[in-house]
């Protein structure tokens, strides 16, 4: 089969690989019909996540058709069209039993501090991902769901991560009616978080980024008030000015490990790998939110330490909430929202790239060329 393969920082290619086989009685093999590149993949692509091995296939956002199932699979059969959450999870460990699917204890031997994720380095379990023609899907009875008849493929693939994560991020903000919510980052996760904040009753939604085309999308798609941080000497002071010098009630970090805005932070983290991530957006969030406010961190950081302004968070009495998104837990409610027309996730898709051209896809998304917001990957066979 054809599959995307990592060749070292900033380098990927498409290779001929063996079709994956059932390795556990509850595995399924899924033929991928549509996949996507996530902002998280960029952290791997840039060589930031420890134990990212040359030869691994990335991709944790994908949908497809069940091609084969293991002997114990009862909920899926050959030919089912399925959407697969980015988390790999068992359904019965202490964490899964309580709905923390992203923190499953039974799927990642390499680390206890993170669950299992498709195509996301060995630190997340060493599974190959879905930017390929076929993928092994463990715990087929637990993770995947048959795509409802009425749902578009592009909406389904957005539900496997980006939309679910943005929606989850807004929930962790514990928004109450009328709250001022500021979202750092106008990528897919930030756009969906901003949109979701309204569903939870926000009174004002502000989005910060430095890419004008993405801020434009935040205004139209997410009805947000937007600011380009490069236009302000100090974005934190500006945030205070526009919130009566109290600060926002809730801040959401939808940027993560490669945040810009402070060259030292960015270079030490993203280029030199001396810290787990560049916490520029997180620090701005800590300083922009009001005392007693809440910060929801959706941006991903590496397992090493990062230079976070923890003292300010303490002195301000902030609540910091965060996790990888437990995707499947969000689905029933998000299906309703899509059906009711409150959300149209595929509206943020900008590129549909054949698998064979995935190297260009990564570069365009990474360097933010061609007004790229969300690139989808179309496998060769489809």
């Amino acid at each position: 089969m054809r599959a995307m393969v990592y060749r070292g920082p900033y380098k990927v290619r498409v290779e001929e690989k063996d079709v994956p086989v059932v390795e556990h009685p509850n595995d399924a093999i899924v033929r991928v019909t549509l996949a996507a590149i996530c902002g998280s993949d960029l952290h791997l692509y840039h060589g930031m996540m420890p134990d990212t091995r040359v030869g691994m296939t990335f991709g944790h956002e994908f949908i497809g058709v069940v091609e084969d199932v293991g002997s114990s699979v009862v909920n899926l059969k050959r030919g089912d069209r399925v959407m697969v959450p980015f988390n790999i999870f068992c359904g019965t460990c202490w964490f899964c039993a309580r709905g923390l699917y992203s923190n499953c204890h039974n799927v990642n031997p390499n680390a206890t501090a993170v669950g299992g994720i498709y195509g996301y380095s060995h630190t997340c379990g060493g599974y190959d991902g879905g930017q390929a023609e076929y993928v092994r899907v463990p715990f087929a009875d637990v993770g995947p769901t048959v795509i409802p008849e009425w749902m578009d493929d592009e909406d389904a693939v957005m539900l496997t991560d980006a939309l679910a994560t943005g929606y989850f991020g807004a929930q962790l903000g514990d928004i109450v009616e009328g709250d001022v919510v500021v979202v750092f980052g106008a990528g897919p996760v930030g756009l969906f978080a901003a949109k979701s904040a309204w569903l939870m009753g926000a009174g004002r939604v502000i989005v910060i980024d430095h890419l004008e085309y993405r801020l434009a999308k935040a205004r139209t798609f997410a009805h947000a008030e937007t600011y380009n941080f490069t236009e302000y000497d100090d974005i934190v002071v500006h945030m205070k000015k526009i919130t009566d010098h109290l600060g926002a009630d809730v801040a959401i970090d939808a940027v993560g490990a490669e945040a810009d805005g402070n060259l030292t932070q960015h270079v030490t983290a993203a280029k030199l790998k001396l810290q787990g991530g560049s916490p520029v957006a997180l620090n701005w969030a800590i300083d922009s939110v009001r005392k007693g406010g809440t910060i929801s961190v959706m941006g991903a950081y590496g397992p090493m330490f990062s230079a976070v302004k923890f003292g300010d968070a303490l002195n301000k009495g902030l609540t910091l909430r965060m996790n990888q998104c437990p995707v499947k837990r969000q689905w029933p409610r998000l299906f309703e929202h899509i059906r009711n027309g409150y959300l149209k996730p595929s509206d943020i898709v900008t590129h549909r790239i054949p698998l064979e051209h995935i190297a260009e896809g990564y570069h365009i998304f990474s360097a933010k060329l061609d007004d790229c917001i969300k690139p989808l990957i179309v496998p060769s066979g489809t």
Binding site: R7, K11, R13, D128, H210, E231, Q330, Y342, E360
Partner: protein, 190 residues
């Protein structure tokens, strides 16, 4: 405005917002939010029908965190460790817990060694690594790399010039090693 006990009035009332934004407030009640509260027993076990999953066969000694009691019943089988990078990785897993910086720094170092090993190995195949096609830089032309960066108030263009250095580093190091080896072989012959 002085610092008083109320926020100034909102610019837009809830009714205005409901009229302007599709779905405004449908999840106002925390009970409708799927991840509230954080811990919630999932009665359906999302389809699982076991107390503890069956164990996947371990086909080679699978590296694992010292913080785990045992090898998890299911695990990924992509890219088994090999070569010098593999030895470094196995050592990092065996020796240091996730709590130790040494664990992660060794793994990061192994990633760099792995890339070097694989670049060299690829030179012996019919498909050597090709920095032009693999970095996707050709998209700079058809995706208008220059106009995407100029006059756009972007904060990231300042460090974009560092990327080619990171890409070129393994090739430069490899070329250096080759030159060095050739020289020392010549010297020994003389």
């Amino acid at each position: 405005m002085a610092y008083t006990s109320e926020r100034p009035p909102r610019a837009e009332s809830s009714d205005d917002l409901r009229a302007r934004i599709p779905g405004w407030g449908v999840d106002l009640d925390p009970k409708d939010r799927p991840s509230v509260p954080k811990l919630r027993i999932q009665e359906d076990r999302t389809g699982a029908h076991w107390e503890f999953p069956e164990r996947q066969e371990e086909k080679w000694p699978r590296e694992r965190s010292t913080e785990h009691k045992f090898l998890t019943p299911v695990f990924g089988t992509s890219c088994p460790p090999h070569g010098i990078s593999g030895a470094m990785r196995r050592f990092a897993y065996r020796k240091y817990s996730e709590a130790r910086a040494a664990h992660w720094l060794l793994l990061l170092a192994a990633d760099r060694v792995d890339a070097g090993e694989q670049h060299l190995r690829s030179l012996l195949t019919t498909r050597p690594d090709n920095p032009i096609t693999q970095t996707g830089v050709r998209s700079e032309v058809f995706a208008h790399g220059i106009s995407a960066r100029i006059g756009r108030k972007r904060a990231d263009v300042r460090h974009h010039p560092l990327d080619p250095i990171i890409v070129a580093a393994p090739w430069v190091v490899a070329a250096g090693l080759v030159v060095k080896t050739v020289r020392s072989v010549r010297r020994r012959r003389r």
